[in-house]
């Protein structure tokens, strides 16, 4: 589907892809890479608090990006935070994708009133901004990582549903589809074996870009104090944590987690854009 040669022909996609891979590896292996465990109360000392970048902590470890108010190493906290951010973004994307596929495919396959109702719901939801829907959901659901994942899944499903429906509608008019219908296969089998595989390709790009988007939304929510709990901070909560210190000049506590967030979101966005052009060269210009 996506040839390696096509990727080599586009150095930007290569670099962005590499960056995305690096970020994912850093998140997965955070406990191995991070110089300290920022949530191990036995090793974190308040005496290390607010060390500037490059400062040496009491146990001799160099804190390359400084420490926060409680004496946690910012670099380690970022690696652990990245993990939380990615877990939330990816699991919410997976849930939203599943719901979106089910809704979009059944709307396209059965058509008629079901299609009208489902797409009307999608339209109504998409007329509200994502951040607002997420905020509302969290106000209704309460706090916790699982709640944030549910809220973000609810934010995203409609977009997937609409995209997959559009793709499936195109497939429905093709000859092979007519052929399968004539074979008297069961509806489920037609949807699962024929409609689904042919309708997913536009979702690959969308899912990539949406992941970046939901990382951003999660960070915003956590920054506002309604996202992930403080016990499992994501990049957003780390930035919020540093907010209290910026007026006293300890910029590193907010700056570095934010820079990491920006790098992650930008890398995924650029990668997604490139992916779109590789999959569909007509959109290139």
């Amino acid at each position: 589907m996506i040839g390696l040669s096509a990727i080599r022909a586009r150095p930007t996609s290569y670099i962005a892809g590499l960056l995305v891979a690096l970020i994912a590896i850093a998140a997965v292996f955070a406990p191995l890479i991070a110089p300290t465990n920022p949530y191990d109360l036995a090793t974190v000392s308040i005496l290390d608090g607010r060390l500037p970048p490059g400062g040496q902590m009491l146990d001799g470890t160099v804190s390359w990006l400084g420490t926060d108010g409680a004496g946690r190493d910012v670099l380690s906290a970022i690696l652990y935070g990245l993990r939380t951010s990615l877990i939330v973004a990816i699991s919410s994307a997976a849930i939203a994708l599943t719901i979106g596929l089910a809704v979009g495919l059944s709307a396209a396959f059965y058509g008629g009133r079901l299609d009208t109702i489902l797409m009307r719901v999608v339209d109504i939801q998409l007329s509200f901004p994502a951040i607002l829907v997420a905020l509302v959901m969290l106000a209704l659901l309460g706090k916790g990582i699982d709640k944030v994942i549910i809220a973000l899944a609810i934010v995203q499903w409609a977009l997937y549903a609409r995209t997959v429906r559009a793709a499936a509608m195109v497939e429905r008019r093709k000859e092979y589809f007519e052929a399968v219908t004539c074979l008297e296969l069961s509806n489920i089998r037609i949807i699962w074996r024929h409609l689904l595989p042919n309708s997913v390709s536009p979702l690959i790009v969308l899912a990539t870009l949406q992941t970046a988007h939901s990382i951003s939304i999660e960070a915003t929510l956590s920054f506002l104090g309604v996202g992930v709990p403080i016990t499992e901070p994501s990049l957003g909560s780390l930035i919020a944590n540093g907010f209290d210190f910026i007026l006293s000049g300890a910029y590193w506590i907010t700056f570095f987690p934010g820079a990491m967030l920006l790098a992650t979101v930008a890398a995924i966005n650029i990668f997604g854009d490139q992916l779109r052009e590789i999959i569909n060269p007509r959109l290139a210009k």
């Binding site: 007329s127 915003t220 506002l224 007026l247 934010g258 920006l262």
Partner: protein, 316 residues
Amino acid sequence: MQSVVVLFVMSLIVFSMINLVGDPVDMLVNPESLPDEIERVRRDFGLDQPVYIQYWKFLTGALSGDLGNSFVFGRPALTLMAERFPATLELAVSALIIAVMIGLPLGVYAGLRPDGLGARFIMGLSVLGISIPTFWLGLMMIILFSVILGWLPVSGRGETAVFLGIESSMFTLDGLKHLAMPATNLALFKIAMVMRLARAGTTEVMAQDFIRFARAKGLSSRRIVRAHLMPNILIPIVTVLGIEFGTLIAFATVTESIFAWPGLGKLVIDAIVNLDRPIVVAYLLFVVALFLVLNLVVDIIYAVLDPRVRLQGDEG
């Protein structure tokens, strides 16, 4: 009609679900209060009643324009929101103006010379503008302009003055200083959007025959851009901005929290954290209503601007 149904369904969902989250009484009373004290507070707010009775009370109240009293402030939710709304509106309007003033020229420029270095740079900036977390940029702005340079105040709305019957901080120097950072921060997302729209519109319009004709007539590029390009690209931009105005109000919650801007968004974030249900419910209904009205207005504007839409409506 559909709008009324949506509003009603939303109120039902919001009201029933919000009652599942936490116990607002815990947030309101002193943790050392005696049990009968807690019971009294619960009774005073009507929280001892079953949810459907609470909802019925709310609904009958809402129909006569009373959305209940805030648990925390003890005043009507609607009054509190009305007090805060001008500040949010001011922020959103300023952000909109900034977005158009910066985004439009850059987008048109990029559209006129799509392969130039400048255009590439501008489009690169717009990718960055979409990726950058706005709230973090707001913090960086505070560090740069307030902490390091000391030019702009960190928080609050500043002095306001009344001009033409409108009270706004746009009319005092102090107010403008307070407004500058939050408005720019809020505008950031929209700048990137206006830029993209303007660029796409420009490349599309510039390829049309009437532009070629205007060129053949010997009009200067400046005149072509002003008289022939601008009116054509402005229609979609204006309509999109109309829809996006609601988004600005929604995003203002974030900006207001960063800069401690005393607007609607700050009110509702505090209310969510404090489990101040009446405020949350009132805000949600307000926002839903706002969006329904905005969508209606945009539909009407479409019909006015583009005769084709009107014709379609007549047929179907």
